[in-house]
C-alpha cells in the first residue's frame, strides 16, 4: 500500500523546523505584530518623535486601559461565537453605582470595589442566562442590555455627574507604583521589575524548549529562538526604562498585566480555554465531546460582566467622576480591537494577545492622530477604514492559504 511508504520517519535525531516553516505556522501573529510596529513607527515619524516620549507612552496606557480590559473579556465572548453590545452601558452603570456608594454614602473604597465587581457578575449572569439557557441570540440580549443599563445609569444618577472620588479610588487609574528603592530622576523599582520580568520570560521559554526536547519534538531553529528571546528581552527592558524616566509603572498597567497573563494562560493552557474554543469552533461537536456548552457560555458572559464592571471603575477613577455619558461606544472599540486582532466573527478563532494588539493599534491611532491635530470627525472615519482593512486582509490571507 502506498500509505506504508508515508509512515513517519523514525525520529532518531532531533529535527529543527526551517525558518520558513516557523513563520508560516505563526503567520497571523507575526502580521499583527508587524502591523502594530509599522503604525507605531509611522506615527513616531509623523509626530517628530512625540509618540514614544515617556510622558506620551504613559498617557497611552492610561487612556486605553479600560478598553483593553473590555477587549480581553470580549475576545472570549467572540471566540464562543457571540457578541456583547452592552459592555459600555454596563461599565457606565457600575461606575454610577460605585460613585453613589463611595461619594454619596461613604462606603469604604475597597468594599465598594468588591460590590461593584459582584454587581458586574450578576449583570453578566443575567445576560448569560438568556443567551446560554434560553438561546436568545447574544446580539439581541446584549442590545437589550445596552438600552437597559444605559437607562438605569441615567435613573441612578438622575442625569447628573457625581464627583469627586477619594484619592485611594482615583489612584487605580491615575497613580503609579511607589519607588521603594529610591533614586533621583530614574524610577529604579520600575527598572528592576522590568529586568526581573524579562529574565523570568527567558527562563520560561528556555524551560518550555527543553521540555519539547525531552518529548523529542521538532524545534524552532536555535538562531531564531535566541533572536526572539533577545528582541523581547531588549524591548521589555527598554519599555521599563522609558517608563522609569517618567513616573514609573502606572498602577493600571499592573492590573492590565496581571489580566493579560491570567487570561492568556487560561485560554492557552487550560481545559476551560479548550472548551471555549471548542464551543465556538463547533458547538455540536463540543457538546457531543462531553463539554457542558451551556455552562461554559454562561460563565463567559459572567466573566464579561465582571470585566465590564472593572472597566467602568477604571474609567470613573480616571475621570474622577461618575457620569451618565460614561462608556459611550466602548463596546464598539472593544469589538473592533478583537477583530483587528484576528478574531473571527464566526467564532472559534481569536487570542487575548491579538485583542490587546488590536486595542493598541486603535489606541495608538487615536493618540497619534490627536497629536497631529486630526479632528475627532476624521479620526472616527479613519478608524473605520482601518477596521475594515484589517479584517479584509485577514480574510484575503486565509483564502490564499486554503
Amino acid at each position: 500500500m502506498q500509505s506504508q511508504l508515508e509512515l513517519p520517519k523514525k525520529q532518531d535525531k532531533q529535527q529543527e523546523l526551517s525558518v520558513g516553516q516557523v513563520i508560516r505556522n505563526n503567520m497571523r501573529q507575526y502580521t499583527m505584530i508587524v502591523t502594530l510596529t509599522v503604525i507605531m513607527l509611522l506615527f513616531q515619524l509623523l509626530t517628530d518623535g512625540l509618540l514614544l516620549k515617556p510622558l506620551n507612552i504613559t498617557n497611552l496606557i492610561l487612556q486605553n486601559a479600560h478598553i483593553l480590559v473590555l477587549a480581553i473579556g470580549m475576545v472570549l465572548v467572540i471566540i464562543t461565537g457571540h457578541i456583547d453590545l452592552s459592555v459600555g452601558s454596563v461599565a457606565a452603570f457600575v461606575g454610577a453605582v460605585s460613585g453613589i456608594m463611595i461619594i454619596n454614602h461613604n462606603v469604604p473604597t475597597f468594599l465598594a470595589i468588591i460590590i461593584s465587581l459582584l454587581l458586574g457578575a450578576v449583570i453578566g449572569a443575567w445576560q448569560g442566562f438568556w443567551v446560554a439557557y434560553v438561546k436568545i441570540p447574544a446580539f439581541i440580549v446584549t442590545l437589550a442590555g445596552m438600552l437597559i443599563f444605559r437607562g438605569l445609569t441615567m435613573v441612578a444618577l438622575e442625569g447628573k455627574s457625581i464627583a469627586p472620588y477619594p484619592d485611594a479610588f482615583q489612584s487605580m487609574s491615575a497613580g503609579f507604583i511607589p519607588d521603594w528603592l529610591g533614586g533621583g530622576s530614574l524610577h529604579v523599582t520600575t527598572m528592576v521589575i522590568g529586568f526581573v520580568l524579562s529574565l523570568l520570560y527567558v527562563f520560561n521559554e528556555w524551560k518550555a524548549r527543553n521540555n519539547q526536547l525531552s518529548y523529542g519534538f521538532d524545534l524552532q531553529p536555535a538562531g531564531l529562538f535566541i533572536a526572539k528571546l533577545a528582541v523581547i528581552f531588549i524591548v521589555l527592558n527598554l519599555f521599563a526604562y522609558v517608563l522609569a524616566t517618567y513616573e514609573g509603572i502606572p498602577n493600571i498597567l499592573v492590573i492590565l498585566g496581571v489580566l493579560v497573563l491570567l487570561y492568556s494562560f487560561v485560554t492557552n493552557q487550560t481545559t476551560a480555554g479548550r472548551h471555549i474554543y471548542a464551543i465556538g469552533g463547533n458547538e455540536k461537536a463540543a457538546q457531543l465531546s462531553g463539554i457542558k456548552t451551556k455552562k461554559v457560555t454562561f460563565w463567559v458572559f459572567v466573566n464579561m460582566g465582571v470585566l465590564s464592571a472593572l472597566s467602568g471603575l477604571l474609567f470613573a477613577a480616571r475621570l474622577n467622576a461618575a457620569t451618565p455619558k460614561a462608556g459611550n461606544l466602548f463596546e464598539l472599540d472593544a469589538i473592533a480591537a478583537c477583530f483587528i486582532g484576528g478574531a473571527s466573527a464566526y467564532g472559534g478563532i481569536g487570542t487575548v494577545a491579538g485583542a490587546i494588539i488590536g486595542g493598541l493599534v486603535m489606541g495608538i491611532m487615536n493618540n497619534g492622530m490627536s497629536l497631529l491635530g486630526v479632528g475627532i470627525d476624521w479620526q472616527q472615519g479613519i478608524k473605520g477604514f482601518v477596521l475594515l482593512a484589517a479584517v479584509a486582509l485577514d480574510i484575503y490571507n486565509k483564502n490564499k492559504a486554503a
Partner: protein, 524 residues
C-alpha cells in the same frame, strides 16, 4: 458521430500546486446513463465543474464538444442554455421557499420583473408529475424529506429543458426506498431521451442503471467500460478505481465474543419539540464484549435518535428506561457521564457534529479526553502532540503533521481523526453512526479493519449503517428498526439483504402477519 452527445477531450485543470485533472477524456452517448467512478479526490467533481462552466473556459485546457459543437462556457448559465444541468451533492434549495419558488429560482416565470404565479404553479404541477412527486407546489421545501427534496432538484433541472443531467452522489443521503425511486426515474428519463451522468460511490446502484462507466484515478481517465460486457462487475470496477485487486472488501473477522457489557431495557424517547410524539418505543438491546452489533433501518427509523439518546441523553425528551454496564445499572445523564462510564459516539455527520474543522488534528483528537493529558486543569500540550502522533501512526492518518487543520483532510482521514478521538477516550462501548459515509473504497477497508481490531480488544461495537452490505460484512448480530421500534434481531448466519429489508419495513399494526410471512419466506 451523431450518437455522441458529449465529448470531453484531454481536459487538464490545474490548481496552485496540484494537477486536479491530467488529460481526462469522456464520451457520453445520446440517451445513455453514464457513470463516473473514482475514489475521493480522483477528479470527478472537478471534471463536472469544468463541464458545467463553474470553472470558466480558459481556466482549463482541452476541448468540450456538445452535439458536435465546440463549447466555451463562461458561466453555469451558458451550459444550462444548452441543456447541461448539474445537481450537486449538497442540495441547493432554499428551505424557507416553496417548491414552486425553488424550482423557478433564478428562472422566474415573469414579465418585466413581475412574477406570474398562476403559470408558475401550473408548470410546477407538470414537472412534479414528471418526477412522480405528489406534493402541493406551495409546500415549503424545508417541510419535506430529503428524498423528496432530491426530486424537487430534479424537477428544477427539468424546468431548464435538460438534455444531459449530471447527478453528483444523488443517493448519498437517501434511504434504500428513495434511492430505488430515483434510479427508476433515471431509467424513465433515459426512455425519454435525456442522458445522465451519475457520480456515485454505491457501485450496486451503478451496476443497476448505468450503460457505461468511465473510471477516473488520480486525475486521469483510466478506462471506459461497457456494462453490457459480462465481465464487468463491482469487483472489476473497484479494481479500476484503486488500481489493484481488492480481494477482500471486509476484514476476515474471527469474533471472540464474551460477556455482555452494555444492556438497555424498555428505552423510550420522545421528540424534543413535539413531546407527545414517541421517537423510540420500548427498545431492548444488548452488546457483548468483542461483538459488532449492527442497527439497520430506513431513514427516520430512529437509529440515530436511539444512539444519541443513549449517549448522555443528547437527544429527546421524557426519556425512560434502564441502562446497564457490565450488569450494573447506570444513569447516563449527560454526555460527560456517558463518556465517564465508557461510552463513545461517533456521529453520523463528522463535519456537522464530529469535528472542529478549523482546529488542528491534535486538538480534535484530545477534545473528549482532556483529563488524560491534563495535570489538574492545565493542558500538557507536549503530551497532546505525542498522543496525537501515536494515533496518526496507528490509524495511518495521511497528513504532513498533527498541526494540520482537520478541515483540510479527506473524508476518510477525517473519520480516522474522529475514531482516534474516541479510541483515546478508552471506551468499552463504541457507537458508530454511519462510520463509512462518504468515504472511498480503499479508506473504507481501513476503517473496517480498525473497527474489527477494536472488537478484538474486547470492546463492544454498536454500528448503525444504511449500507446493508456493510452490515452483512461486518456484524455478528443485527437489530433492525422501524418507526422507533426494534422489529427484528438476526444473527450473522440468518442475515441477508432480503431479510433485513423485510424487517425494516415491518409496521406495528401488521406485527403478526409480517412475522409469519418472514418465517415462510425464510423457509423458502
Amino acid at each position: 458521430m451523431s450518437d455522441i452527445l458529449l465529448e470531453m477531450k484531454n481536459i487538464i485543470k490545474e490548481f496552485p500546486g496540484v494537477k486536479a485533472l491530467d488529460g481526462v477524456s469522456l464520451k457520453v452517448k445520446e440517451g445513455e446513463i453514464h457513470a463516473l467512478c473514482g475514489e475521493n479526490g480522483a477528479g470527478k467533481s472537478t471534471l463536472m465543474k469544468v463541464l458545467s462552466g463553474v470553472y470558466p473556459h480558459g481556466t482549463y485546457s482541452g476541448e468540450i464538444l456538445f452535439n458536435g459543437d465546440a463549447c466555451a462556457f463562461k458561466t453555469i448559465k451558458d451550459s444550462e442554455q444548452l441543456g447541461i444541468v448539474i445537481i450537486h451533492q449538497e442540495l441547493a434549495l432554499v428551505p424557507y421557499l416553496s417548491i414552486a419558488e425553488n424550482i423557478f429560482l433564478g428562472n422566474e416565470q415573469s414579465r418585466r420583473g413581475i412574477i406570474n404565479w398562476h403559470q408558475t404553479t401550473i408548470k410546477t404541477k407538470e414537472l412534479l408529475k414528471k418526477v412522480g412527486l405528489k406534493e402541493n407546489p406551495d409546500t415549503k421545501v424545508g417541510d419535506i424529506g430529503v428524498g423528496k427534496q432530491q426530486l424537487v432538484e430534479i424537477a428544477k433541472a427539468l424546468s431548464k429543458n435538460a438534455k444531459l443531467l449530471i447527478l453528483d452522489e444523488p443517493t448519498a443521503s437517501l434511504n434504500e426506498k428513495d434511492s430505488e425511486n430515483l434510479l427508476q426515474l433515471m431509467l424513465e428519463f433515459k426512455k425519454q431521451g435525456i442522458s445522465s451522468i451519475i457520480i456515485s460511490h454505491k457501485l450496486n446502484e451503478i451496476e443497476k442503471v448505468a450503460d457505461s462507466i468511465t473510471i477516473l484515478r488520480d486525475g486521469q481517465s483510466v478506462e471506459t467500460l461497457s456494462m453490457k460486457d459480462s465481465e464487468v462487475n463491482e469487483d472489476r470496477i473497484i479494481k479500476g478505481m484503486v488500481g489493484r485487486d481488492l480481494t477482500h472488501r471486509y476484514p476476515d473477522r474471527r469474533p471472540n465474543i464474551r460477556q455482555t457489557i452494555f444492556e438497555v431495557k424498555k428505552w423510550n424517547v420522545h421528540h424534543p419539540l413535539h413531546a407527545h410524539r414517541k421517537v423510540i418505543d420500548e427498545v431492548d438491546l444488548h452488546v457483548r464484549s468483542g461483538e459488532i452489533v449492527g442497527i439497520a433501518g430506513l431513514m427516520g427509523a430512529g437509529r440515530t435518535e436511539l444512539a444519541m439518546s443513549l449517549f448522555g441523553k443528547s437527544y429527546g425528551k421524557k426519556i425512560s428506561g434502564q441502562t446497564f454496564l457490565r450488569g450494573e445499572e447506570v444513569v447516563l445523564d449527560g454526555v460527560d457521564k456517558a463518556i465517564g462510564h465508557g461510552l463513545a459516539y461517533v456521529s453520523e455527520d463528522r463535519k456537522d457534529s464530529g469535528l472542529i474543522l478549523m482546529e488542528d488534528i491534535k486538538t480534535n483528537i484530545s477534545l473528549a479526553s482532556l483529563k488524560q493529558i491534563c495535570s489538574r486543569f492545565v493542558v500538557n500540550k507536549n503530551k497532546e502532540v505525542q498522543v496525537a502522533e501515536e494515533y496518526r501512526r496507528k490509524l495511518n492518518i495521511k497528513t504532513p503533521s498533527v498541526y494540520q487543520k482537520a478541515g483540510l483532510l479527506s473524508g476518510g482521514n477525517q473519520q480516522k481523526i474522529v475514531l482516534s478521538k474516541w479510541i483515546l477516550s478508552n471506551p468499552e462501548l463504541l457507537i458508530l453512526d454511519e462510520p463509512t459515509r462518504g468515504i472511498d473504497v480503499g479508506a473504507k477497508y481501513e476503517i473496517y479493519t480498525i473497527i474489527d481490531e477494536l472488537a478484538q480488544q474486547g470492546k463492544g461495537i454498536l454500528m448503525i449503517s444504511s449500507e446493508l452490505p456493510e452490515l452483512l460484512g461486518m456484524c455478528d448480530r443485527i437489530y433492525v428498526m422501524n418507526e422507533g421500534r426494534i422489529t427484528g434481531e438476526v444473527t450473522r448466519e440468518e442475515a441477508s439483504q432480503e431479510v433485513l429489508m423485510r424487517y425494516m419495513t415491518k409496521r406495528k399494526e401488521s406485527d403478526h402477519h409480517a412475522k409469519s410471512a418472514g418465517i415462510t419466506e425464510k423457509a423458502r
